[in-house]
Structure formats: structure tokens, C-alpha cells
Amino acid sequence: MIVRPVTITDLPALLELARCAGRGFTSLPANEERLAHRVRWAQRTFAGQVERADADYLFVLEDDDRQVVGISALTGAVGLREPWYNYRVGVTVSSAPELGIQRQIPTLFLNNEMTGQSEVCSLFLHPAQRRGHNGRLLSLARLLFVAEFSQLFGEKLIAELRGHADEQGCSPFWDSLGRHFFKKDFSYADQLSGMGNKSFIAELMPRQPLYTCMLTKQAQAVIGRAHPNTEPALKILGAEGFSHKGYIDIFDGGPVIEASVSKIRSVRDSQSLALAIGTPDEQAPVWLIHNRRLASCRITSARAHLHGHSLLVDRLTAKRLQVQPGDTVRAVPLLSQARQAVAA
């Protein structure tokens, strides 16, 4: 398996993945025209032809038979072309010591504080391929890419996790808040925002803070709660140092998790190493390895041995990465130390 930039010839495979992902996956619409537009834009991004504000790094996961089985994305910056809104879950205090009243009222503050940060998004792995290290490779490849090209990204990476919804796909948070201002179902708002209209809908909503006690009990219960489907993504990014600092999506109340780039494990622990070819043994740890290129980026995971400043991998891995012995690569163990200990 390798992760590489998308190309226009991937379009049929992407359409298939989009159909498989279903309507809930709004950033990957099963619409040829819109997908083609996104792919072309990604190609221009990898070619260095777009500004950071518009950059959309779209990666695919491809097996050795050249089958595209997954997709993930990384944006240069959010909120530089149109406002990017979140609520921050804060507090206002209602206090009258003379009456013994001291109430902390949870309050949602609309903000644009994530402006300029980069977003990891649009991850989808074909259900048949959800095994081994595939999910981790598809997700972490983006972080290693950021480690190599940090000047192309913001100080922080963020991820908006889908919020909690019921069996019918209704969002209690939306029903208690957004619906009063947009007067449409969540699924419709969700589709529209997938088409890039999110800030327009956001602008229908009040700018003033909102007291969470005015929301329904069901809505209050899902503030900052991720959809169970996002559990694997949350686990992977959580182990990398992403955490929830109180920012949520303004539509479904799902958590926005964030991490400073320099503190992300895959960034912090990654190093540039000279590649050597040999035969790593079966006990060698699995590494995430990047060929350090932008337009012809290749990232894979493989067993490897670290010897001083060189990384020993097998011939197939070098071939997958399109590198020769002696070329430098950027690499980091796929699993954090703690997780390796558990795996051992």
C-alpha cells in the first residue's frame, strides 16, 4: 500500500468510493463533475500552483495492484477565503453573593479562531480494506507530509469530527439550534455545506453567544460528542496528540480536535534518514516513511531497522517509495512508543 497524490485517472475509483461512503460523507460527493473539479484542484495544489488559502492536498491509498481503496485530505488553511466558524463551549457567570447565587452558565461563543489553521479531513477507507495498518497509514501519511513541508501549513492542525446523530441521521444539536435559523433539515444543510456553502448557512445564525441551557436536553447531551463512526479516526489522531479544547461544529455540535504541528508525535519524532536496502526481520517495528517529495510524494508503512542515520527497508518498500539506496526519506515509527509496548 502507498499513499500518493490523487490524479485525474483516479476519478472512476473515487466515484466508486464516494458511492460506497454514502450521503453522510459530504466532502466526497458521488458527483463526477464536482469530484473532477476537486481532483484537478488537488493536482494544481501538489504542483504548487495555488496559494495556501486554497490548497487542497487530496491523497489516495493504493494497493500494489494499483487499486485505489481509500482517500484522505489536508487543506492549506481554513477560513482565509470565507469565514470559518466554530462554537467554543465557554461559560458565563451569574453571580450575586448577597443572595448566595453563583451560577456558571455554559455558553456557546461563535468564533473564527481556527482561521489560518490547516485541516485534516475527508478520510474514507473502503470497508474491505479496514484492516492491518491501512487506516493508520492513510491518516498519518498526512501528518508526515506536514512534517516535511511545514511551511505550507498553519501552526495547528484541526479535524472536525462528525457529531452525534440518531438512527435517521437527524442531529439533535441541529434540530435545537441551526434549524430555527435555516428552517431546513440537517441532511439538507449538510449537503449544502459539503458543496461549499457552509459559511453562508453559518451567517444565518446569530453572532451573539448562546446559552446551552436554552437548547433541548438531547442537544445539550451531544455537545462535543463525536459520531460513533468516527471512533477509529479519533483514536488515531488522539494518539498523535490531538485533543478537544472546547471547539465544536456549529451545525451538529461534533468536536473539533486540534494539535500544534510541532507537538504532533509523527511530526516531532520524525527524522530524515538515509535509505538502505536489506532484509528487516519479522520483529522489526513498522515505520511510516515518506520519500520527501511534494508532487511525486509517496508514503508507505513497512518494517524497518534504524541504524544510526540510516533506515533499512526491503527492496519492495524502496520500489513503492520510488527511491534508491542512499536517498533520504522522512520516517517515524507508525505506532507511538506506548502503543508499540502494548503491541509487543
Binding site: T92, S94, S95, A96, E98, L99, I101, R103, I105, T107, S176, L177, H180, F181, F182, K183, L192, N197, F200, I201, E203, L204, M205, P206, Q208, P209, L210, Y211, C213, M214, L215
Partner: protein, 338 residues
């Protein structure tokens, strides 16, 4: 005969009984002798002040049975809101939710804490014995205040408002309070109103939400309370509505009750009242009921009387009426049809 007059310190014991009987949220009369005494003294001091423009003066009136001496009701006028402390209310106006790109434009009603009603004359504290509700005497208790304003315009603002008590259930539950105030105080409605009487209303208002509350986000029971009158407040509402008062976009921040307002020149009892010379007659060929007052301050008096009043002549009053009004023959009285 019943007569309305400014309160005196000697009324204190009876006032305490009125305070106990009055509806939660109406008078905020504290069942507390010391606080009641302050209220009475405040009214006396207001009457003694030479006022050029309205301020924090409060005029407190009682309705007394002249035969028994018993007090049967009370009412008040605050000369100007917002002088001693801010006057808070909730403004109910649509938040405009619009997007040019999505071609959407709609208004979402929102309640915002505001001080828009500062600087207006406030009628308040209307309370009458249950057996006198919807009688000419309850008209007297309410409207004599308007005649007092007519007699002393420099003491009052150009615009008069009143807050009508909002809906609460028989066991003292207010759905509006439960949906809003409760979150900010963690106190039951009746307890909050009691604190208003003891502390100041402003004191509690300042604990209320500073950011708008969007009406569709409230439970339906609370939405239904916006502008809804408590059954016991209906008479106060009806009397002033007939006087030309209208509801506006403001509601009470605790119970959601409506606010009524009118400009002084448009108030019926003020616009249609006229001054007439009083003359004494033991026999009156009455053909209508009228409110009659003198133009006094501390000696202000008002009664209901059956009279024969023509467009511009003098008006005949019985000796008992003249005595109740503390007016001598040949002096002027103010008369308006009931």
C-alpha cells in the same frame, strides 16, 4: 363612599394586610414593616419635593372606605424609570436571519435584555380587594393616577408605561420563568418575586441573560407566556387599554407579561378630563358616573360620583362628595366620565 388619597404613615398596619393579600408579582409589596415604612416615607417625601422634571419620585395611593376607615386597595406611580436604577425589560424583536447567496431572509423572534424603557412614567402596584374587582372603584384606583398626572404634568414623563403581571399557575409556577430565569438563579418564580420586593428588581435583572434568547428555542409553554396576562391582571390591563394604552414589543423579564404604553396627551382620562367649578347641591339629578378629583398633591383626593355634568358649566356635588374631595364650593375639580 370610597376615596383615593396619597398614603400616610398611619396606614402602615393596614398596608401590611394588603401586602399579604396581593398577587405574587403585582405589587412587590414586602410583607416587612420596615421596608413598607420606607415605601410610605418615600411617597410622602416625593409629594413634599418641588419637582421641575420627573425623577425617582414614587407616589403611593390608597383607596379607603371613608365610612369604616378600611383600606381596600393601593396603586403607585413611579415618576420616571431608570433614575435611581436601570429599568430592565425584554425586547421582543425579530433577529434577521438572511443570506444573499442562499436567497433566504426570515426573522427569528428574539428576546433581548434592554433598558429601552428608561425615562418613562411607570404605573405599578395596582391591587384591590377581590370583592371589588371590576367595580367603578377599581377604575378609580387605577385611573385616579392618570388624573394626578394630568394635574401635575411637570412631575411626569411624556410617556406612561405599565407592566401587567404575566401568567403563572395557581400553584405559583411560571413556565416563562422556568424556561429562562430559573437557569440563571436556580430559584422558584415566587421566591424570585419575593426577593424583588426585598432587594430591588434591578438587582435581580442584572443576573438575567445578557445575550438574546431566541423564542423558537423556548419550550412551547414558555413561548405561550410571552405577552400573556395573568387572569388576575386582566382587569388592570383592560382598564388601561380602554384608556388608550397599547401593547408594544416589551415584556417582563421574569414572567413574560406584557408592557402597555401610551403618550400622555393620548390618554383618555387626561385628554377628556375637564376642570369645572364645584357648587354644592344636596339634590343631584344624576345621569352618569364620573371620576372626580382635586388637583392637590399631598391632599390629592379622587372619588367616583353620580353627577349631572354638561359640556362647560359648573358641576354640582353633594356635601359628602365635597368633603371627601376636601374641596370647598367655588373651587375647581377635575371631572372625567367613568
Amino acid at each position: 363612599m370610597l376615596a383615593l388619597r396619597p398614603v400616610q404613615l398611619s396606614d402602615l398596619p393596614q398596608l401590611q394586610q394588603l401586602a399579604r393579600d396581593s398577587l405574587v408579582g403585582v405589587t412587590s409589596l414586602p410583607d416587612d414593616t420596615e421596608r413598607l415604612r420606607e415605601r410610605v416615607l418615600d411617597s410622602c417625601a416625593s409629594l413634599a419635593t418641588d419637582v421641575q422634571s420627573p425623577g425617582g419620585e414614587n407616589y403611593f395611593f390608597v383607596l379607603q372606605n371613608l365610612d369604616s376607615g378600611r383600606l381596600v386597595g393601593c396603586s403607585e406611580i413611579l415618576a420616571s424609570t431608570g433614575c435611581n436604577e436601570p429599568f430592565y425589560s425584554l425586547r421582543n424583536r425579530p433577529f434577521s436571519s438572511s443570506s444573499r447567496e442562499l436567497n433566504i431572509q426570515h426573522g427569528v423572534p428574539a428576546l433581548s435584555l434592554c433598558q429601552d424603557l428608561n425615562g418613562q412614567t411607570l404605573l405599578r402596584g395596582f391591587h384591590i380587594d377581590a370583592d371589588r374587582v371590576r367595580t367603578p372603584e377599581s377604575e378609580l384606583l387605577s385611573r385616579a393616577r392618570l388624573m394626578f398626572i394630568a394635574a401635575h404634568p411637570q412631575r411626569f414623563a411624556e410617556s406612561v408605561i405599565t407592566e401587567i403581571v404575566g401568567y403563572s399557575s395557581d400553584d405559583g409556577q411560571s413556565p416563562f420563568w422556568d424556561a429562562i430565569g430559573q437557569h440563571f438563579f436556580d430559584l422558584p418564580y415566587a421566591e424570585a418575586e419575593r426577593l424583588c420586593g426585598l432587594q430591588s428588581r434591578t438587582f435581580l435583572a442584572e443576573l438575567m441573560p445578557q445575550y438574546p434568547i431566541y423564542v423558537p428555542m423556548l419550550p412551547p409553554e414558555a413561548q405561550a407566556c410571552i405577552g400573556r396576562v395573568h387572569p388576575d391582571g386582566q382587569e388592570a390591563f383592560d382598564i388601561l387599554e380602554r384608556e388608550g394604552f397599547e401593547t408594544n414589543n416589551y415584556v417582563d423579564l421574569f414572567d413574560g407579561g406584557p408592557t402597555l404604553h401610551a403618550r400622555v396627551p393620548c390618554i383618555r382620562s387626561i385628554a377628556q378630563g375637564r376642570k369645572a367649578l364645584a357648587w354644592k347641591s344636596s339634590q343631584i339629578d344624576a345621569w352618569g358616573r364620573y371620576l372626580v378629583s382635586n388637583d392637590g398633591l399631598a391632599d390629592f383626593r379622587a372619588i367616583v360620583a353620580e353627577l349631572n355634568v354638561d359640556a362647560d358649566g359648573p358641576v354640582a356635588l353633594t356635601p359628602a362628595m365635597l368633603a371627601a374631595l376636601e374641596v370647598n364650593e367655588g373651587e375647581r375639580v377635575r371631572v372625567v366620565a367613568l
